[in-house]
Amino acid sequence: MTVSSVAPGADGVGADAVEAEPVPPPGPGPATAAGRRAPRLPWPGYLGTKLVGAVVSFFVVLVIGFVLFNLMPADPVRTMTRGRPVSPEQMAQLRVQLGLNRPVWARFLSYLNDTVHGNLGYSWQYQQSVGSLVMSRLGPTLLLMGTSFLISVVLGLWLGMRSGWRAGSLFDRLTSGTALALWSVPTFWLGMILLIVFSVGIGPVSGILPAGGMSDPTLSQTGMVHYLDVARHLILPAVTLVLVAYAQYVTIMRSSIIEQLGSPYLLTARAKGLSDAAVRRKHAAPNALLPSMTMIFMQLGLLVSGAVTVETVYSWPGLGYLTYEALKIPDLPLLQGTFIVFSASVIIMNLLADLLYRVLDPRVRAT
């Protein structure tokens, strides 16, 4: 049941989303005929397989991006010049300028070449290169997503461990019920409600937190004052993302702990006379953590989705807000840029999760 030995065709039957064996972004599967008992690849081979898989995934992203933004739009020139007086000659010239008169494969090759070299095109709306726009917005997004990811993982794993250990108890039912309700809340609406309560204020009570943006332009932009100001602006978006994201982790960790409940090694630990808390923390939790971590990294895409809406609601100057600004126009090169950067970061995180799993798995460490 290890990640590297999932052969195509060896999945559990009727496995649901949580219990399904996590499958890494594909590469040539190392195990085929030998099935689950296949010997593990040594490190270099494993690393190579995963790297090739990640590169292939990124290539697929590029192909999708090309089809989506370069082939599907009927006429980019018409979209660009919508609402402006343009003569047909000017439009024809613009097409030549954009290289739209060249054959598809030539356009694809130059698109590949450009993207791999970090040239993501030119934003119609901002009149500057998409690459520099994306880079300037990367920091705020990393700050917001990193903070919320850390908090929600710690919170979710802890709650999931406690509620799975006493499955069916009042604590478990409360935790699972809250998680279920929060999962059903639209992220942007939760953001709006928090914004009203804590920033606009209800009735006579005025708001205590800033309504949006990342810093107050009237304050100094450096030093301690600035950091505290950014932290104050970070509270509401981060809390919104945590509330939406942690529920997933509770579910994952809870079912992972429940899987462990009947295990003989827990009986052994109890027979040794360990307290219930010690059995849970020292024995059950580490074993339940392994599969949970992989699932958590696999679901990073959800956090990205949340970031797009949360950043829009709080006008947080990150990649998600940039995506929103791009789709209003729609500014296709900019949309393509954010799509590629989001996808690439998810692929990289999945790759890291695969490597981390291999490092953390005691069955491998021992050999």
């Binding site: 039957v13 399904a20 599967g29 292939v56 999708i64 809340v185 639209p186 429940i258 895409g301 998810v346």
Partner: protein, 303 residues
């Protein structure tokens, strides 16, 4: 079938086994309170959505024809207040359920068709085709859904159709994996081997043997898929990818947020659509989980 069983059953009503299991399923489902609560919520919203056109027409919803006060707080005449164009929020809320549910259901149907099609084919053809399809699924799972859906809907243009397509394209992967696993299990059973021995082709096995046997699973997964689809629909519409003239919950929240209700502290315009989305999504999730628990023998021993 009946001819063989009839002597044994001697007079007693002979029920085909399929209906017997359906009855057993219904009885087990009715014992789960959360599932019933979810079902009740869904039934209420469905009825509202169906009868809405009987008492709500363009007179109440067309921005150019209404003449209520702008952004007024709740009163006897407008129980949930009015929006920035003077329409009754309560009527918009009721009418909005129609399109929100419709997009959710259609997107889910599309998702299930794509997902189970790919899942069955991938499970049936084990070789190169199956592996390629599974790799395709894994690639799509790795893609962040929201940016892809936004890009797709933006490229296809504003409106219900492009939102539906965007949701289906980004959410079929879970169904495909589930159905492929189930297809593998079904194909290992003797009656498929029997059909193959009798000369059934690939198409016939997939249609006549596999599809009816994975159908219950497809239906079960549909309730959870709808929940996700309705959330995605609300999000995409909120971001401005919907048709601005239509009345949906996502569209209401979009207008509330970007057209000033927000700064006017118009909570009566912001709370109801979100609560409606929350209730319907929760309803589908509760029903889906109850059905899952009833059908999954492993879950029954567990608390």
């Amino acid at each position: 079938m009946t001819a063989l069983d009839a002597p044994a059953a001697a007079g007693a009503a002979v029920r085909p086994p399929r209906f017997e299991s359906a009855r057993r399923f219904a009885r087990a489902f009715l014992r789960r309170r959360s599932g019933i609560a979810g079902l009740a919520v869904l039934a209420a919203f469905t009825v509202l959505a169906l009868v809405a056109p009987l008492f709500i027409g363009p007179d109440q919803l067309d921005v150019t024809r209404v003449n209520g006060p702008l952004l007024a707080s709740p009163s006897a005449h407008y129980p949930l207040g009015t929006d920035q164009a003077g329409r009754s929020v309560l009527l918009m809320l009721i009418y909005g359920s129609r399109e929100s549910l419709r997009v959710g259901v259609i997107a889910t149907l599309l998702t299930l068709v794509i997902g189970s099609g790919i899942g069955i084919v991938a499970g049936h053809y084990g070789g190169l085709v199956g592996r390629l399809l599974m790799h395709l699924t894994d690639w799509f799972i790795a893609l962040p859904g929201m940016p892809l859906a936004i890009s797709l809907a933006a490229v296809l243009g504003q409106g219900e159709t492009s939102i539906t397509i965007a949701i289906a394209v980004t959410s079929w992967t879970g169904t495909a994996r589930l159905i492929r696993a189930q297809t593998l299990a079904v194909e290992a059973r003797p009656f498929v081997e029997r059909a193959r021995a009798l000369g059934a082709g690939h198409g016939q096995i997939m249609q006549r043997q596999v599809l009816p046997n994975v159908m219950p699973l497809i239906l079960v997964s549909s309730t959870l898929t709808i929940a996700g689809a309705m959330l995605s629909e609300a999000t995409l519409t909120f971001l401005g990818l919907g048709d601005p003239t239509s009345v949906t919950w996502g569209e209401m929240l979009n207008q509330a947020f970007f057209n000033g209700a927000f700064t006017a502290d118009a909570w009566w315009y912001i709370l109801p659509p979100g609560l409606a989305i929350l209730l319907v999504v929760l309803g589908f999730t509760l029903v889906g989980r109850a059905v899952e628990t009833v059908l999954d023998p492993r879950m029954q021993e567990r608390p």
